[in-house]
Every structure is written in C-alpha cells, then in structure tokens.
C-alpha cells in the first residue's frame, strides 16, 4: 500500500490550552495540587508586600509639609515625600543657580532634537547625523552648562555645532516632507540636479560655509554667565559624567581592543598591559588615585579641576571594559570576512571600519548597553570623593535642618529613578537587537 491518505488533511484549531487565557493559567499555574499551592502562596506574598508598600508610600504618606516634624504630625506610619519634593531641584540639578537651570533643560532638549532624526525612517544620512552629534554636541552643551567667555576655539566649535544643528534639523524636515535628503533637495531647488558631482559638492560646501559665517558672527555676541563646576550636581552631574564617559570610552575601547589584537608587539603589549591594570583595580581606587595622586605627577601650577580628573578616570576605567567587550565581539567574526575584505583590496582600516566593526558592534549591543547601565550606576561612587552627584544630593537631604534624619524616602526615590532609566535602556537594547538582526538571517 503506497497511498496512505487520499485527501489533504484539513487544518484544525489548536487545543484551548494553547490559545485561551484560561487554558494558559491552567497549564502554567494550576496544573497540579502542588503547583496550585505554590501559586497561591506566591500570590499571598506579593499581596502582603504590595499592600505594605501602597499603604506606606501612598495612603499614609505626606506630600505637603515644610519640615519632617509636620510629616510626623500628619502620620507616623507613612512616607514623608514632602522632603523629596522640596529637594527635587537639588536632586536633578544640584546647586546650579535656579535662574540658570533652563540652560540644562535646553541642553537636554537640544540633544533629544539632535538625535530625533536617527529614529525617523524617512530621514536620510543617519551616519552623518550620528557623527555630528558626537563631534559637535559636547562643545555646544559644554558651553551651555559652563558659560563665561568663549575663547576663539570655543567660538569656532560652538558656531560649528549650531551650524550642524541647523543643517540637521532642516534635513529632518526635508526628509519628513519630501522623503529625500537635504543635498538632493537643494540641488533640485536650484536646478542643479544634473550638474557633475564636483559642481554639486562645491555649491553645497559654499552654502555650509556661508551658514557657518552667519552663525559665527551671530554667536560672537551671545554669552551666558559662568557657572563654576562646583555648583554642578544631582542627576545632571551623574549624566554628564556617565554621558562623557560612555561617549569617549567606546571609541577608546575600540582602539584598545584593536591594539590588543595588533601584529605589532609594542602596541599589543602596551594595550594589554593598560587593559589588565585598569581591569584589576576597583573604580573607587581609580577615582581616589585620579584626584589625589594625579596632581602629584603634573607640573607645578598645573591644576585640573576635580571634575575633569574624575571624568578622565571614568573614561580610562570604562574604556578597558569596553575594550574587552569589543574584543569578544571581534573574535566572533569568522576569518572568512577578513579574507573576503582582503580580496576586494580593502586595507586594515577599511576592513575594520566597513566590514568587521559594523558586524561586531551589532553582536556587542547587549554587552555595551549592559556596560552603559553599569557605568551609570557606578558613577554614584563619585559622591564618596566629594562630588554632589545624585547620590550625594539624596544623602544630603537628611542633613538639611528641616528634614534631618530623612534617609529612606530619598534613597527609595533614587532607586526608582535609576530603575526607570536603566530598565528602559535595557528594554531599548532588546528592541535594537531584534531590529538590527532582522536584515540578515544567517
């Protein structure tokens, strides 16, 4: 008998346990007596914890009060959020002058706007946008936050940043409205779409240069008052330190990783030594070294402010971890990719930049984001060496006369804040991974 069945078997719906909520519950939570008991106990524990939290943190809590005493007068068993609320500005901005706080918000807003096009599918030129934010944004933000007189270099960079920002925003609008890139759009506008590559490039360069000159002249008269770094603090300071730390340690880490794999013995030994030394020492030690020992090695009269020292320490420390992440990512790339690149004549930097790194970085995203989250949290260590970052601010609340002894609420508030930031980053990294691996299935 060769023929088993003559007709095509019709599709039937899956059993209830696979599709309905009830089916799922039954299969996963109540499949046996033991399982049911476990489920019920767990639900009870969750209930106890949650209800305790809700009563303490919300139902019995005090939100409006002028000092801790008043909280107690209101309720002895509830949280005293009034203290946290009174200190909110300090928690976010430190002792930054209140009338200047808009500069921080504005700096943050600029960053968001600058990066916004990266998420918009219709906008072209993402690599340039990414590069411009890394190269120019720090200078503009740096001046916004610090203020004071601009030296000629700062004038130049600030003007460059504003120019880049204007171009970026125009490019975004053109992308959204016309679904093309700014240069193509401009060429069509001036009827030069068919001109040669060289002509087009020259016209564009001339336009950028003209814009730069206008911006340069305009910004020369624009000044904001100086705010010394000792007034920086709170979440703002945490984000500045970790932001600069992250943005610089990734490129530095890439070079260290390449150095460690280099064929040149001197480069290899130096990179390996550097990485291993920094990886074997706790961050707090590096921070102490940077602030106490570093000045000893510097020429007399050369004073770096503590913030810069801390940032350098964080960058060097984190770059070593990044280097190891990058190295692991590079090792995952098959040898054939190097050989493929070799046969089309790419040299070392072309191979690394165009073929190997783009693939390796994609594999590294989860680890890089993990490292970023770690760095953000580790940055709170700077409160130990006397910077008033977010942790420093949260702990000062208990020393403020009206709120003396208020420890729990600020720290819980800080924990929730960190959780929100870190959890959204890790969720976003999952999303990125899925999105990036959609293109190539091996």
């Amino acid at each position: 008998m060769a023929i088993i069945t003559k007709q095509k078997t019709a599709d039937r719906p899956a059993p209830l346990s696979e599709t309905s909520v009830l089916g799922w519950l039954q299969k996963n939570l109540f499949s046996s007596v033991f399982n049911t008991v476990l489920t019920l106990i767990t639900i009870f524990i969750i209930y106890l914890t949650l209800s305790g939290v809700v009563v303490w943190g919300y139902l019995d809590a005090t939100f409006v009060a002028d000092k801790r005493r008043e909280c107690y007068d209101n309720s002895l068993t509830g949280a005293c959020w009034a203290g946290v609320i009174a200190w909110l500005d300090n928690i976010f901005y430190g002792r930054y002058p209140r009338e200047e706080i808009w500069r921080i918000d504005f700096g943050g807003l600029l960053l968001v706007l600058w990066m916004l096009p990266l998420w918009l599918a219709r906008v072209k030129g993402k690599i340039l946008i990414g590069a411009s934010v890394i190269i120019f944004y720090p200078f503009l933000a740096g001046y916004m936050f610090t203020g004071g007189d601009k030296g000629w270099f700062m004038q130049f960079m600030v003007a460059g940043a504003i120019t880049a920002f204007i171009i970026n925003m125009t490019n975004m609008l053109v992308g959204l409205l016309k679904n093309t890139s700014l240069d193509v759009f401009l060429m069509q506008l001036f009827g030069q779409a068919d001109a040669g590559d060289k002509t087009q490039r020259n016209i564009l360069l001339a336009m950028v240069a003209a814009l730069f000159v206008v911006v340069f002249l305009w910004q020369a008269s624009w000044n904001v008052t100086e705010v010394v770094w000792t007034k920086w603090g709170g979440l703002f300071l945490t984000l500045v330190i970790s932001g600069i730390g992250i943005a610089s340690s990734l490129p530095l880490g890439i070079f260290l990783a390449l150095g460690r794999r280099s064929k040149l013995p001197v480069v290899r030994v130096l990179s390996t030594g550097f990485i291993e030394v920094f990886r074997s020492v706790p961050l707090i030690t590096v921070l102490f070294m940077a602030t106490t020992m570093f000045p000893l090695f510097m020429p007399e009269g050369f004073v770096l402010n503590k913030l810069v020292q801390v940032i350098i320490a964080v960058i060097l420390f984190n770059a070593c971890y990044m280097a190891e992440i990058v190295r692991a990512g590079l090792q995952a790339i098959p040898k054939g990719q190097f050989e493929g690149a070799h046969t089309i004549g790419l040299g070392y930097w072309g191979t690394m930049g165009l073929i190997i790194m783009p693939q390796a970085l994609k594999h590294m995203i989860p680890n890089i984001v993990g490292n970023i989250i770690g760095l953000l949290k580790d940055t709170t260590l700077v409160s130990i060496i006397g910077l008033f970052d977010i942790l420093g601010m949260l702990r000062s609340i208990s020393k403020d006369v009206p709120w003396v002894g208020l420890h729990k609420e600020p720290l819980i508030f800080g924990a929730v804040l960190f959780f929100i930031i870190c959890f959204s980053m890790s969720k976003y990294s999952r999303h990125l991974e899925v999105k990036l691996s959609a293109g190539d299935k091996h």
Binding site: Q337, E339, I344, G347, G439, K441
Partner: protein, 258 residues
C-alpha cells in the same frame, strides 16, 4: 560528483605574456612543510585546474598567490610584482587578483549591491553611480540582477556564490582564483555556478581553479595540475590527464573520485 553536461573543450586563450611566475617556492606552517619546491608559470588567458586529495596544499598554494598567506622561500611574481614584505605591493596585488572561496565570504550586513560596490567605491575610488552601473552589469552576467537589494542570508548557496564571483569581477581583476567554489553547494546548484565560470573562461580571463568537477576541468582547462602532500605531482592536458594519468598517486586519486 555531480554529472555535468558541459562538453566540448574551449579554445585556449593563452598568450605569451606571463601573469604569474612561481619559482622554487616553499611554505611551512610552523614545522609542517605544506608546499615543496613549487614551480609554475601561468600566462595571460591561461586556465589551470588544480586537484588533489584534501590537505595536499591546494588552497595554500592559491592563497599564497594573492598574498593571503606568506611563503618563506622562493619567489612568487604576479603581474610583474614580486610578493614579499612590501605592503604597497600587497595592496596592489590584492586589487589585481580576484578570489572566490568555498564559503562565499559575502558580507552579511550589506545588500548584494553594496557587497559589489564596496570595493570599487572605497578601493578604486569610483563614483557611486558608475560603481552601481558596473555592479548591475556583472549581476546581469551572473544572471541575478533582480536580487540586488537582498541580503546574502536571503539567497541560496548557488546564488551567493555567483554574487561572490560578481563581487570579484567588479574590481576588474587580471587573474581569478577559485578555491573549491562548488564544494559547499547542493548538487542542483553546482551547474549554475559552473556555467557562470565557463562564461567567464570564454571572455579570456586568466583563471586558476581548485575543483574536482572533472567535466568542468575538461571543458575549460588548458592544463590540469595534480597535487599531493605539497608536491605538484603531475600536470598535463585535461584529456591526457584524465585518460592516461602517469603517476600512480594520480591514478589512485582519480580512481577514488571518478
């Protein structure tokens, strides 16, 4: 072996101009002597097929020719340039010699078109529009122009190998090396790749092909080379090679694969 329907020998395109000259070349991996006193001269337009048992040094030989591996003794002169430590020379050689691998080695993060235009744009400094035009012409020639926007991972092995051939051709190489280009393919895809290679041979390209596809060898090869344990054991015209192998090692090998 798949049964190939390729029959009829192509006319030889060999000229007197020397493209590759290998003199008394030796290579070791550590203590292991992989290639022993290799002598080989390849003229412009000449087509060689190399066969031999696994581990006999076939891949190593052709990898030495485009400087993927270093040799320790003797000379390899490609298109008048002596291979050695001089990096400038190496860069030049790499752009003159195209290579196709058993595992394709396409770049999985780039589309087919980007795979093809990368070299011309970044190495040959060609304008983008021109590079795309060239790429499309070669995709046409390997018969998959409609796949230009796909990623390598979305294509069959045979298609990927044809893209790999097109990618090499986009660099307008003077010599093409093939390292078992059909060994990783399912039988039904072997022919589509061999067909493309035969067409390439018809254009007069200088080719060295490591393969065990005998029908293909008979069609295109000016000479077949048999390697064993790092030696070139025997070389002959294809018909003579397959019908009257002289060396007993060749006879034994042919009896195993035919």
């Amino acid at each position: 072996m798949s049964e190939q329907q390729i029959t009829g020998q192509l006319a030889s395109a060999a000229s007197t101009e020397v493209m590759i000259e290998i003199n008394q070349m030796n290579k070791w991996y550590g203590d292991f002597h992989v290639l022993k006193d290799i002598d080989l001269t390849v003229h412009k337009g000449e087509r060689f097929v190399i066969c031999g048992p696994s581990g006999s040094g076939k891949s190593t030989l052709i990898r030495c020719i485009n400087a993927l591996e270093e040799h320790q003794q003797g000379d390899i002169i490609v298109d008048g340039i002596k291979l050695g430590k001089n990096l400038k020379n190496l860069d030049h050689i790499r752009t003159e010699v195209g290579m196709v691998f058993q595992n394709f080695n396409l770049f999985p993060h780039l589309t087919i078109l980007e795979n093809l235009t990368l070299g011309p744009i970044w190495v040959r400094k060609m304008a983008k529009a021109e590079a795309i035009e060239t790429a499309m012409m070669y995709l046409e020639r390997v018969k998959i122009p409609e796949q230009a926007d796909k990623y390598p991972g979305q294509m069959s092995g045979g298609q990927q190998q044809r893209v790999a051939i097109a990618r090499s051709l986009c660099m307008s190489p003077k010599i093409m090396l093939f390292d078992e280009p059909t060994s990783a393919l399912d039988p039904e895809m072997i022919k589509e790749v061999l067909d493309v290679m035969v067409e390439l041979a018809e254009t007069g390209m200088t080719m060295i092909v490591v393969t065990h596809e005998m029908g293909f060898a008979k069609t295109i090869a000016d000479e077949v080379i048999f390697m064993d344990e790092g030696d070139i054991v025997e070389r002959n015209k294809p018909v003579a090679f397959f019908e009257n192998p002289e060396h007993e090692r060749t006879q034994k090998f042919l009896s195993q694969i035919l």
